[in-house]
Symmetry: C2
Subunit: 213 residues, 2 copies
């Protein structure tokens, strides 16, 4: 295993591998080949092997990968072995949906703080968490929370991001449009832009209007 810069796309796939392996391990499977994992996840076998090869040698020729062993290694690589507290900023429809979404938990990610602008929501307690004023974001520093989910309207995204950086947040999952965020930021920001994803779907519809050349 020589040193290589690790492609972003590889990192993007690692959690997918992890989920597949956890699923298999749950079903009692002890080993899996790259080819079988490929079938399950709709990712090609050589791709999986190459991705893993950037981090080490985890398999046994002729046998495959130990489901338990490899998922442990992936958790190490992804830094998911220690549990992470996550702050949720914005408790509108989307924020509330995210709070109730259980998909994070198996990766050791837990929302433990919520912030809102709306005075009518501040002070309410949801899932045992007291909704705080966004002005109290600076308290995250004390609480050693490093990750945040941004589920707020475009207008306030820039200001809140700056507050989060001030408060020592190091990673943000952002649901606001990406142009709202300061590009010079040191913080790792992953943006999910639901509107943009839906807006490009009609492009692929078979009957398409021709565009004048």
């Amino acid at each position: 295993m020589k040193f290589h810069r690790i492609p972003d796309e590889t990192v993007r796939r690692l959690p997918i591998y992890l989920r597949g392996l956890l699923l298999l391990a749950e079903q009692g499977r002890e080993h899996v080949s790259s080819h079988e994992l490929a079938d399950i996840l709709h990712i090609k076998g050589p791709q999986i092997r190459k991705d893993l090869s950037y981090f080490g040698e985890f398999g046994t020729p002729g046998v495959g990968y130990g489901t338990k062993e490899l998922s442990d290694c992936l958790r190490d690589i992804l830094n998911l072995n220690c549990p992470h507290k996550v702050a949720l900023v914005g408790y509108g429809n989307l924020g509330a949906a995210i709070l109730r979404y259980s998909g994070f938990r198996s990766y050791g990610l837990k929302i433990t703080a919520i912030f809102e602008n709306n005075p009518r929501k501040i002070g309410r307690i949801v899932q045992n968490i007291r909704i705080q004023d966004v002005k109290e974001i600076s308290s995250l520093k004390r609480k050693k929370i490093e990750l945040a989910i941004l589920a707020i309207p475009a207008e306030s995204a820039r200001e809140v991001t700056e507050r989060l950086e001030q408060a020592g947040i190091l990673g943000i999952l952002n649901f606001a449009p990406s142009y709202c965020i300061d590009a010079r930021s040191k913080v790792k920001i992953i943006t999910i832009d639901i509107g943009m994803d839906l807006a490009r779907l009609p492009y692929y519809l078979p009957i398409k209007a021709e565009i004048a050349g």
Copy 2:
């Protein structure tokens, strides 16, 4: 303008350009250069020019692009000029959040049908739409609805996708894990996997556990 296969990444960026231009047009701007648009959207200028060049020549040297003209062209290219009806499948927390999300509307996309499994929700009326049983998905064919948003648990995703295909749906925005979906499908499927995106964020935290080689 020679013929080129259009990169997927280019198509992914088109809606971003469109949004930027609509924003500028709203502010009364008549023209914009690729460089200025680049600054706003955090996408490089030459990238924007090349992306657009796959579809035609939309700008004026020395002047830039007409905000109104180019946004019209992009709407044509993306097939967003005629309004599209969208079916929402799954009215849980996420489904409800998506229904209330207004970001689609400016692109002519409107949710006009909702389907659910849960008998307690079927029959309820939300935003003037009557929630129907998923068994009635076949009715979409009559209604000429071609797009769907899938906001349901992993377990039922495969079955529902098959139903949607039967009903003539041609594009799906999918919030279930991608392995749940039949890879051989003819339908264009764009998957948003919130859990996986959050799970890769800790990888980028500066203090990382070393992995044994």
